[in-house]
Subunit: 233 residues, 2 copies
Amino acid sequence: MCLSPALLHLYDTKDAVVVIIDVFRATSTIAAALHNGAKSVIPVATVPECIELGSKTPNSITAGERDGKVAEGLQYGNSPSEYPTEFIKDKTLVLTTTNGTRLLHMVKDAAVIITGSFLNLQAVSEFLMGQNKNVLLGCAAWKDRFNMEDTLFAGAVVNAVKDSFSINCDSARAAYHLYQRTEGDDFISFLMDSSHYIRLSAYGLEKDMEYCSTPNLHPVVPILKGKELLIHS
Amino acid sequence: MCLSPALLHLYDTKDAVVVIIDVFRATSTIAAALHNGAKSVIPVATVPECIELGSKTPNSITAGERDGKVAEGLQYGNSPSEYPTEFIKDKTLVLTTTNGTRLLHMVKDAAVIITGSFLNLQAVSEFLMGQNKNVLLGCAAWKDRFNMEDTLFAGAVVNAVKDSFSINCDSARAAYHLYQRTEGDDFISFLMDSSHYIRLSAYGLEKDMEYCSTPNLHPVVPILKGKELLIHS
């Protein structure tokens, strides 16, 4: 398990399943959009790339935030609540986020790349147990800094899959201990004392974070095929 | 709080108090040697530097391990039990370790650098509360990987000083949660499920690790003055 993109070089991702984790909020939004019927989600690194790809892609929408607001030149933000079925069905979501997208593009040689969040916790865990491969849980973190929400989610996955895997690093063990500190999967109460919660609360995003901390509302496994995230079936 | 030397660049150490943490076993050995009467401890990065400095320093001994054994050309190892008073009193210990020494030399602009371990937990905590400065708890980790023992110690420090400081990063919060998972300061039981414990057990070092996990056996604060670690008085 990798706590920050700055530590990714320490891990062997070759032929592994890598789970990209960016709970607040990229990988939550990806699960919601796909579950609600988006044709695909294309993660891109920058706002200009997002605009360019959006203009080339039929029936697409461009989305992304910087500093808690829709980025200039884009149409929508980075909240799962912006993508209900009646809006997103059959559209391609071109999404730019900083931390999650960066990590996703850093992983080069994995067998499989999927994205995980509390919204698809069980689906991701079951997928991992069915793969018979090494797994790397990769936290997007925040500007390379350890963050609580991604690590807590990793701990919830460790808890769910622990009987099917051997744990071979202390970060996975520590994540599991964090998970054990939550009560009855009340993740949001635990996460209220975290840097990202405090930061995003200043933008009035408490409801968004509560939504992102609710297990299994969008039980799909987004899997990277080429440059697109699609539902694994 | 910094979980790995590979993340140190994310933190501002200017004018801060930095606590170097390498529980298994460099900073434990440093606390033991100084408390048992060593004149000073000089941390160096490499075996050749250790040999050279040892040859130049009167009444010194050279020490360091590689792969759990005394390194070739040096006299002693990296176990606190090797440095009782009758042996170490008034001597200078020239010590080479990989992870702890490297981190110590990476910190350039701190106001104060001290070393911490369970053996001097309370002394370090009281020192920090008396300084009125920002504090960075810096884990030596293992080859840049997060490790359990250094983070757990950081959590024990957070617990001890939390009423005197505001916590402004998720790693310190997570370390505190880890500490909360221990029972009655029985640190060694908690640490038995950790990578370093498993690795060092293969060298028969269980007693060493148990010793290093015992709080407050060597209640001194090793502080860096020039190139030497001395007892803060």
